[in-house]
Symmetry: C4
Subunit: 341 residues, 4 copies
């Protein structure tokens, strides 16, 4: 088994059960969580040959900034429960690899304490929008270069193992970017009336580009684009929100078609290897994001996060070379949908 | 395992073997029974996002009456064998949940003894139609608000475990709405010449709307609509009649297309969870019905039937919220049929 | 397990290993043999409802003669190795059930010794056609009412277990309708240059209608019809000739389309139950034939062959009734090919 | 299990682990290696009947020369590690069977020492093309009748077991057609800028026809044809280059369509039996090549390679006869793609 493929089992060995379970869990019967990775693994590739691949570059421009690789770290809470290094370790190792980190609004590290490195802030919008403003301003000040609005969470889905996590988790590591007493204020609960206009509101308040994370339908992708989204992020929240939501690998192509180049399209959910990243690019994504794998790596420490990126880079570079692709963009379209005989 | 998912095993532990087997059995090789639930579980959903779900309501109008939820209890015989509470317990708990109960014409409780609550009567038509009239009148008088004609049973399919049930069952709990000696009268056997016109005859005799239960083909659905059916109910009788009949999840969309809004369309067979109800709505059903699950719940008593409805309500409400749907009608069309890569 | 489903295992217990293995064997890797039955079991049915099924009849006309049921016994050699009763027992029990028997030209019983009952002769044509004439005349004289030309056997496929059978088999029970020394004559080997014209030649020599058995392709079916075949029999020889030949359940619909009513179409291969017969009718066959099941039944004696027919009749009658079909012809078209969601 | 089917296990028993593993290995997660053989086995055949198959011939013309059979031996390195007989034994046994051998440019035998028999040279092109000329001239002089340019290997994919092989392998048996010190010369590494024009360059330098091996896409096939390729060889390098590349059985039909008869089309990858060869012909290949099976056979010695060809010939001849095909070309189009009911 490769080092990457062993991440989850090593994390299980290292982490307290309630933390491992919190990271692992999906909602409902886990159908969506469980089929995510298989959907990528089922994609077949039709490599190009006889093309000059003397210099292959993974460099990828996301919202106008160049990154060294076409993947990034998806926002996940509880990183300090996973490892004392927490978000700073994650961001440091990821930035060193030239990759982008998306920091969860539920992070256990104050934005001001984040180390150097490119990051975007993931946000949930509260019913009373004005309550979000301090958080947004703190993030802008601390250097966030974009916002990622999570649109698939009007309420948090029930998950069997979550309650034991919240009981056992250390409060000092949770949601430290919110004032004490925040959750008790009227209107602090998640907005259930989120609409495309909130994308514009967030952009206005923060002055940052806003990405819509959690889109699975082409029509919604189009609504986001029309409302000024800087990019559309295909996600089912790692199988943690609506169970039986379709795998992102299957949702992606129709969203790419609908967006039709108007903005970039990102995707996450079940990306576990460099070939999965390549499958995502082949199906039209501009970048892929990883949720659990960097968290599992973090359980082994910052060096393991660095190794995660390094292993992915080797795999993706090799795959591009063997597929006759000089850049991530060249990969688009090499997914094969052969009729089974 | 969730409480809902454990219903069958708990019923197996509680019920006498001949009763459990009677409820469980399908006909033939059980192909149709066994694939029913999987067919729903295979439906994938493409949730809407960025839609106001501040107030989600499960309220559903069936034949002009409003119910609190888009599901109901399908007609099943032998409820008093399953639990002394029988049909009254089933109806009470179901009505308390705001849901509709369909009472089997083979019920073990006299219609006059049913508690308050909305119910429809399921009927089989005998060869000599006039023999059915007393039963129909008793039901009307006792408050049935619609008739459900079961159209898939010109004869009862052989089922391996049925004979032992009939030997061991207590006759005082069986078919108590028929006069003594009814079955020996000429013409009391099930009509084998049932036709669409019988829908009209039933409506005339009873003054009630008549639903055709057991339709799997679009052409038959159309014939029912043309003959004045109040609604079409897609069912294969829980895999208890023609074995190898197609799963209702696969039959439903074509029937919905054929009926084209002329009447409502209901469906049953293998509905085991709130997400299954959502899948049925997504494929175009106006309501889903459950056969075995309420019977298994009844084996644990009336409170368990109440809990069945409560759990479903939590699941369906959560799923609607996460899918950006304010009402059951909003769910139509979110079934995803992605091409596998 | 039903009595029908247990036939093979009971035969295994009763028969000498070399005989059981001879009957069981397929050619090559047994791919074609092994998937035959599953292909029928995978057919789903969309039953009609609200149709008068007061009188259901299985009566079926094959080549102008009426039989009580829409199935028959396919030609199989070695019946006397299987049971001393041999072909006479098979024919007697089958005729008693109102069904047709096809007798193999390799039968272990002289045609003149066959009991009363409808039968067709299966033939292989030798390189020197004239050598076949005595056999044909003997069959005509003994009452054969049609010929079945096996067209899929220009050579006999290698089968792993066959050699041990031929060593151990009692020669007095094999191919008794050929003169001693027949096989040593020049031109006695199977014709490798068989063509559609041989159908006409057989008809001319025998005065009987000729059925082409072993057709899998629509174009070949058409060639047979154009050459005067009385019927086309879709078969892959029970997986005993070309391995990886497609299942007959999958070959049948295109052949039915190509023949387009010009002649009848029969099918065999993997028919194991009444519902399999119904699946064959649903896909357009006029009749289904069974190869191994009657042989397995014969291992238990003539009464078991009778029971085989009786069980099939119960199953098929029930299925027709439940499917709203009064006759085998009504079954055509009820096969369901739903798109999986 | 047939002798052919047992080849791999017998080779495992005979070979040193590092050699067996080197032959067995695929790249990445072995997805492409592992599904190759199944893809051929899934092809179903629709045999012709009533066609004269008195004389069936496997004779096949490849690039203007006639061979006795429609398959050949694909280029594989390390044959002398597998058996002291090495390439000479492979070529002798293959030529005796009337079949073509493709010799790897990494062969462990000097071209001048090859025995009589038809062979083609497989080549990789170095960054500095001129470095390849001595090898090409040596091959031409030694009688190679065509070149096979491997186009799927701009770099060699990482394979878990390879390093231990290179450590343990005897250098005197590796790449003996290169001068000492060749690999250290600048420009000796594999060209990463290979293009269609290299086909023309190779033809010019050698005066031989050039086949492009490693094509999976129709567009690339067309580019090769337009650049003067003598034939297109569909291959994914036995699953040793890009993992998750599509199975050649699924890539073949579209390539055949794109080439549209302009050149021949060959295929390799997972061909394990005569029926697999027939499947390849049925999907439009002019010839199939075998990589690992002849290597496994060689592990048992030259006689086993001879037996490999003899067994294939028996199987393919039987299959052609049973499929109503007199020649390999007749097989085209008998692949069946039936819609599953
Ligand atoms: C432990 C955990 C915490 C998460 N927290 C957040 C979050 O705070 N905000 C958010 O938008 N998504 C969150 N997600 C979802 C991820 O951003 C991402 O969509 C998902 O994990 C991708 O699937 P994968 O884990 O299979 O890679 C979380 C996921 C996990 C596993
Ligand atoms: C024990 C039992 C008794 C039933 N009795 C009747 C009945 O009397 N009338 C009727 O129309 N359907 C009857 N049905 C069929 C149900 O109404 C319903 O169609 C079926 O159970 C739905 O499938 P499910 O059990 O998978 O939910 C019965 C089903 C069961 C399991
Ligand atoms: C033991 C055995 C002997 C057979 N002998 C003949 C034969 O002599 N002539 C013939 O045309 N088919 C022969 N067949 C093929 C059958 O007629 C028929 O096509 C096949 O058995 C149908 O498949 P099933 O066994 O799955 O029902 C034989 C089949 C078996 C199993
Ligand atoms: C041990 C081994 C060595 C190989 N060496 C070469 C080589 O030197 N050049 C080449 O073009 N292909 C090489 N191949 C690939 C084969 O030519 C062929 O494409 C592949 O083995 C076909 O798949 P199969 O092994 O499933 O039949 C090699 C394959 C194996 C297994």
């Amino acid at each position: 088994m490769s080092w990457l493929a062993g991440l989850e089992e090593r994390a299980r060995a290292v982490l307290p059960a309630h933390v491992f379970d919190y990271v692992a869990t999906g909602s409902g019967g886990n159908a969506t969580r469980d089929e995510a990775a298989d959907a990528w693994r089922a994609v077949r590739l039709a490599p190009h040959v006889l093309r000059d691949v003397t210099s292959v570059s993974l460099a990828t421009t996301l919202l106008g900034h160049e990154y060294a690789v076409p993947w990034g770290v998806a926002p996940t809470s509880a990183q300090r429960e996973v490892h004392a290094g927490g978000e700073p370790a994650m961001l440091r190792a990821t930035a060193a690899a030239g990759a982008l980190t998306v920091v969860s609004s539920n992070a256990g590290t104050r934005f001001a304490d984040l180390p150097d490195g490119p990051w975007w802030l993931q946000v949930y919008v509260p019913a009373d929008r004005t309550l979000a403003e301090p958080l947004l301003h703190a993030a802008v000040e601390a250097g966030a270069s974009a916002l990622v609005l999570t649109v698939d969470t009007p309420v948090v889905a029930r998950k069997p193992t979550e309650s034991s996590f919240w009981e056992l988790a250390d409060p000092q590591w949770l949601r430290v970017n919110f004032d004490e007493g925040y959750d008790d204020r009227p209107g602090a609960e998640k907005a259930t009336d989120l609409g495309p206009h909130d994308l514009g509101w967030l952009a206005g308040v923060s002055g940052l580009p806003v990405v819509a994370k959690g889109v699975l339908r082409p029509d919604d992708a189009r609504r986001c684009v029309d409302a000024g989204a800087a990019a559309v992020w295909v996600s089912n929240h790692g199988g943690r929100q609506l169970d039986r939501a379709l795998p992102t690998a299957l949702a992606l192509p129709a969203v790419v078609d609908a967006v039709d180049g108007a903005t970039q399209v990102y995707v996450d959910g079940g990306i576990r290897s460099g070939l999965d990243v390549v499958a995502a690019l082949a199906l039209g994504a501009d970048a892929a994001f990883l949720g659990r794998p960097p968290v599992w790596a973090l359980a082994e420490g910052e060096a393991a996060v660095a190794r995660l990126h390094a292993e992915l880079a080797v795999e993706v570079t090799e795959a591009l070379t063997l597929a006759g692709c000089r850049t991530p963009a060249d990969v688009r379209g090499i997914a094969a949908f052969p009729a089974t005989p």
